[in-house]
C-alpha cells in the first residue's frame, strides 16, 4: 500500500517547446470556458438573487430550490447530468457548450447567494427614498442597487471566479481539450506524469494569482474612487 524510496528525480526534458505550446493553448481554452461561464453566471445569478429576495413566495422558493440543488451537489455529477441529459431530450451540443452550460448553472447559484447578501447589505432606506421620489423598480435595481452591490461583493466574487477557474479542470472528463486534458495527454505520451502535472499546477497557480491580484487592484481602485465621490 505504501512504498517510499526517498529519491526524487525530476526530468523536464519531455516538456519541450511543442508541449509547452499545447499547454498554452489549453490554458487559453480554460480561460475562455471560465470567462464565458462567469459572465453568463453574472446575468443568471443577478436574476436569481432578485428572485430569492422576491416577495412572491413561489418565485422565492423556486430560486431557493435551484440554489440549494446546484450548491449541494458535486460539479462532476452536474456535468454528467448536463452532458448526458441534453442528448436524451434531443438537444445535441458539443462538449464545449455542455461544459459552459454546466459551469454557468453552477456558478449562477453561487453568485446568486453572493449577490443576495450584497443586496441585503444595502440600507433599505435607499430603496424607500427612491420609491418615494417616483423612481421605477427596474431603475432602482439598475442605477442604485446593482452598482453598490458589486462594490460590496467584489472580494467574494473574486473568490468565486478563482473557484470556477479551478473547477473548470473537471470539464476535461467530458473530452474538452482545456489545460487539464492537455496535461493528461502530454503525461500519457511522455510517461512523465509528475513533471507534467507540476507544470500544469503551476500554470493554474499563476492564473489564479493574477486573478486575485487584479481583484485586489479593482477593490483598491473602487475604495479610492468611493472616497472621492463622498469627499472622504
Amino acid at each position: 500500500m505504501f512504498i517510499a524510496k526517498g529519491c526524487i528525480s525530476l526530468d523536464f526534458s519531455a516538456l519541450n517547446s511543442g508541449a509547452l505550446e499545447a499547454l498554452g493553448k489549453g490554458a487559453l481554452v480554460t480561460a475562455t470556458i471560465s470567462g464565458v461561464s462567469i459572465l453568463l453566471g453574472v446575468v443568471v445569478g443577478l436574476g436569481l438573487a432578485f428572485m430569492l429576495l422576491a416577495r412572491n413566495a413561489i418565485i422565492a422558493s423556486c430560486a431557493n430550490l435551484y440554489r440549494s440543488f446546484w450548491r449541494g451537489t458535486p460539479l462532476l455529477v452536474q456535468l454528467f447530468i448536463v452532458f448526458y441529459f441534453l442528448p436524451k431530450v434531443g438537444i445535441d451540443v458539443p462538449p464545449f457548450v455542455a461544459a459552459v452550460i454546466a459551469l454557468t448553472m453552477n456558478t449562477a447559484a453561487f453568485q446568486a447567494e453572493i449577490y443576495r447578501a450584497g443586496l441585503q447589505a444595502i440600507p433599505s432606506g435607499q430603496v424607500e427614498a427612491a420609491r418615494v421620489l417616483g423612481i421605477g423598480i427596474w431603475s432602482i435595481r439598475r442605477h442604485i442597487l446593482i452598482p453598490q452591490m458589486f462594490r460590496l461583493v467584489l472580494p467574494a466574487l473574486t473568490n468565486e471566479i478563482i473557484s470556477i477557474l479551478k473547477n473548470s479542470s473537471l470539464v476535461s472528463i467530458i473530452a474538452v481539450t482545456e489545460l487539464m486534458r492537455t496535461g493528461q495527454q502530454i503525461a500519457s505520451a511522455s510517461f512523465r506524469p509528475l513533471e507534467t502535472y507540476l507544470i500544469v499546477g503551476l500554470i493554474y497557480v499563476v492564473m489564479n494569482s493574477c486573478l486575485s491580484w487584479i481583484g485586489a487592484r479593482v477593490e483598491n481602485h473602487l475604495l479610492r474612487s468611493e472616497g472621492r465621490t463622498y469627499g472622504v
Partner: protein
C-alpha cells in the same frame, strides 16, 4: 424519455455502499485536514519569517491549484517520487493535504480575531503557551470557525466525487459502473445527485446545531 424507478430500487443497496465509502473518505480527509491545519495556522502567525513565508507558499499553492492536479500528482506522479499509493489512501491523503490549506486559513482568521490583550493577560497570570491556546483562544475561536469549517467540509464532500477519476470506489465511481452495466444514464446520476444533496443538507444541519450548542455553552 421514461424515468425507470426500478433501476434505482435494484441498485439502491450498491449506491448506499458507495455513499458509505464517500462518507468514510471525507471523514478521514477532514481529520487529516484539521490535524494538519492547526499547526499550519500557528505557523502562518509565527514570528519567524521563514516559517511564515514557507507555509504561506504552501497554502497559496494548494488554494490556487485544482484538487484534480493534487490527486494526479500524488497518484500518477507519486511513483516517480518513490511514493506508491493505492487509490484510496492517495485520495484520502490528497484531499487531506488540500483541505489542510483551507483549514489553516480558517484557523488563522480565528486565531487573529482574539484580542492580543487577552493573551498577554493570560501569560501574565502564568498560563503556559499551550494553556493559552487550548483554554483561552480555542474556546473563543470555536464559534467563529464552525461556520466556515462546515462550509469547507461541504466543499470536501463535493470534491470527493473527483476521487472517482483516480478509480476510488466511492459513490460517483460506483454510479459510473452502474451506468456502464445498464446503459441507463439519467436515473443513476439523478439518484446520486439526490444522495449527495441529502448528505450535504444533513451535514450542514448538524453543524448548525453544533454552532448553536457552542454559542449556548458560552
Amino acid at each position: 424519455m421514461v424515468f425507470e424507478w426500478d433501476l434505482i430500487v435494484r441498485y439502491g443497496p450498491t449506491l448506499l455502499q458507495g455513499l458509505w465509502m464517500t462518507m468514510w473518505i471525507v471523514f478521514l480527509a477532514v481529520v487529516i485536514a484539521i490535524v494538519l491545519g492547526l499547526p499550519l495556522a500557528l505557523a502562518l502567525v509565527s514570528r519567524s519569517a521563514v516559517v511564515r513565508i514557507s507555509v504561506r507558499v504552501y497554502v497559496e499553492v494548494m488554494r490556487g491549484t485544482p484538487i484534480l492536479i493534487v490527486l494526479f500528482i500524488l497518484y500518477y506522479g507519486g511513483p516517480s517520487m518513490g511514493l506508491v499509493l493505492d487509490a484510496v489512501p492517495a485520495g484520502i491523503i490528497g484531499m487531506g493535504l488540500y483541505g489542510a490549506a483551507y483549514f489553516a486559513e480558517i484557523f488563522r482568521s480565528g486565531l487573529q480575531s482574539i484580542p492580543p490583550g487577552q493573551v498577554e493577560a493570560a501569560r501574565m497570570l502564568g498560563l503556559t503557551k499551550s494553556q493559552v491556546l487550548f483554554r483561552v483562544k480555542g474556546p473563543q475561536m470555536l464559534s467563529l470557525i464552525i461556520p466556515p469549517g462546515a462550509n469547507q467540509v461541504v466543499i470536501l464532500i463535493k470534491e470527493s466525487a473527483l476521487l472517482s477519476i483516480i478509480t476510488v470506489p466511492e459513490l460517483t465511481k460506483i454510479t459510473a459502473q452502474i451506468v456502464a452495466e445498464t446503459f441507463a444514464i439519467v436515473e443513476p446520476y439523478v439518484a446520486i445527485a439526490l444522495l449527495y444533496w441529502a448528505l450535504i443538507e444533513l451535514v450542514s444541519r448538524l453543524f448548525r446545531k453544533l454552532e448553536t450548542l457552542v454559542r449556548h455553552g458560552q
